[in-house]
């Protein structure tokens, strides 16, 4: 079970998974709470659009995707829907579709473009370099710091979304900060982990935690624990049965979600104590 850590590349992959998993599963609680689960795919796609664009104009390979993603995150923070029949998710879906189409159009005029996109969308944690680990550790530490420092502001905002209270003002500074941190973590995480693992880290631990817990502290701890378990057992599966690492971690997170669902269902059919059912 632990003998895989004798290999440097597995230890590095685990380190990366822990760094990504912890931050994303925490951010995921906000993302799920706000009902914007496809924000990751949309921002990931905007980042690919940035790659396609930088390929097309043949400059700015590193900076343009980041600028694109931040601009996308900035635009997303303005979404403010007053019509009850519409959901934010719908707008995010539109952004995803249009960004994908624009990427395809740009690639069709750029040779070699698809392999660059592949590089952005299908990172692989089995072959990360130590500079990449240093860079992502730094960026994620800054993001985590911002979230710890302004925890109350951002959490209050997510609470508003959860309760369906749309706030009036056109521009909300904390909402902007929230989207910028989401955007930055997604650009960096996707490059190393790939888009599907990042989506899973963001959504599965958060959803599982919400199914199990109610109090904020327990929620956060449960989500972090699930991301760690997913990374550890996923890498074990990848190592012992020789599967690509990212997909193994996603499958393991899925298995954990399945177990949580079983627990939840079992709870549902056992007699309840009244005071536990009251919403906080």
């Amino acid at each position: 079970m632990f003998e895989m850590f004798q290999l440097d590349f597995i230890t590095q992959a685990f380190l990366i998974s822990v760094i990504t998993g912890l931050l994303l599963s925490y951010l995921g609680l906000h993302v799920v709470g706000r009902g914007i689960v496809f924000v990751d795919l949309a921002l990931g796609q905007i980042s690919s659009l940035g790659v396609a664009f930088s390929d097309y104009i043949e400059k700015g390979k590193t900076i343009i995707p980041i600028v694109f993603t931040l601009a996308g995150a900035f635009a997303l923070s303005f979404i403010n829907i007053r019509d009850k029949r519409l959901k934010q998710e719908a707008i995010i879906g539109i952004i995803y579709a249009v960004a994908s189409a624009a990427t395809v159009m740009l690639i069709s005029k750029t040779p070699h473009g698809d392999s660059d996109i592949q590089e952005v969308l299908f990172g692989n944690i089995l072959s990360v370099g130590s500079e990449q680990i240093r860079l992502i550790s730094f960026v994620f530490a800054v993001i985590a710091f911002v979230h710890i420092l302004f925890y109350k502001k951002i959490a209050a905002l997510t609470k508003q979304y959860e309760n369906g209270e749309t706030h009036a003002g056109i521009f909300n500074f904390w909402n902007f900060i929230f989207y910028i941190t989401i955007g930055l973590s997604i650009v960096f995480a996707v490059r190393i982990n790939g888009v599907i693992p990042v989506f899973s880290y963001l959504i599965i631990p958060a959803v599982s935690a919400i199914m199990l817990a109610r109090r904020n502290v327990v929620l956060v701890i449960t989500a972090l624990a699930i991301s760690l378990l997913g990374a550890f057992f996923g890498l074990n599966v990848s190592y012992h049965y020789d599967f690509p690492a990212g997909s193994s971690i996603v499958a393991m997170l899925g298995a954990l979600f399945f177990i949580v669902s079983l627990i939840k269902t079992a709870k549902h059919f056992t007699p309840k104590k009244d005071h536990l059912q009251k919403p906080l």
């Binding site: 079970m1 003998e3 290999l7 440097d8 590349f9 597995i10 590095q12 390929d55 043949e58 690639i107 069709s108 750029t110 040779p111 070699h112 473009g113 698809d114 392999s115 592949q118 590089e119 299908f122 692989n124 089995l126 072959s127 990360v128 370099g129 990848s238 190592y239 012992h240 020789d242 599967f243 690509p244 690492a245």
Partner: protein
Amino acid sequence: MKQITKIIFLWLLLTAQQTTASTIKVVTTLTDLRSIAEMIGGDKVETFSIATGFQNPHFVDPKPSYIIKLSNADLFVTVGLDLESGWSPSLLASSRNVKIQRGSAGYVDASEGVPLQQVPSSINRAEGDIHIYGNPHYWLDPLNGKIIAKNICDGLTRISPANKNYFEANLNTFNSKLDAKIKDWQLKMAPFKGAKIIAYHNEWCYFENRFNLKVVDFLEPKPGIPPTPSQLVKIIGEIKSNGIKVIITSPYFSTSSSDVVSKQTGARTAVLATSTGAFEEVKTYFDVFDYNVRKLTEELK
């Protein structure tokens, strides 16, 4: 469960120990390099290829076993140029094996000394020159197989100088067998000298020149860009005006576009072997050409 994994792990350790005794562990990126390394190294080597023969060599998804094999390898053989640039350098770095890094004795760039084709005169990606050093699919000219074999032989000799004569004897056997084969293949292809064909991807120039074929156009408008409607229309026109009979493609490309063209023109799609192991019956480097020559002569008749 835990017991089983423990037993498997121990067993792997034991078997690994047994084979370390004297064999040279060779890891290649492609199956063709593996096949040639086997013929040169004989019973002195144990070989492993990272990519399979039916996989697009430009894209390989890393798995733990690749890195483990690399970290235990004595010799690493790569096609080079920029064919595997998307995955092999990072795998090599992750292996932390100093013996096989670029520049070390255990690193063999099989392209060394190969006369390259389609080397771009200016590097401009807008023109579709995705390979800045030249077209990297050089193993598809069997004559280049000799250069690859020589490079591998040199690499093996660097690792195990004691076996120099053994490797060289194998190299000579390989070369004379290949010479005879090439004569045979060229004889079979002779009736179709100058035959015009269409290809899916720009990976056949070495094969085309060796066997006197003429690839008129590609289904991909630019290398790496999937066929577009206007390109298909252009291809259909070219097939009709030149009386082209065959569209050649590889196992890892979808045949949906060539099927459309086939329906419109009657030209047939031939899926050729781009590497050893592309199909069940293609077991060695020689089989690649046996298969392709047989397939092409059937379709071109």
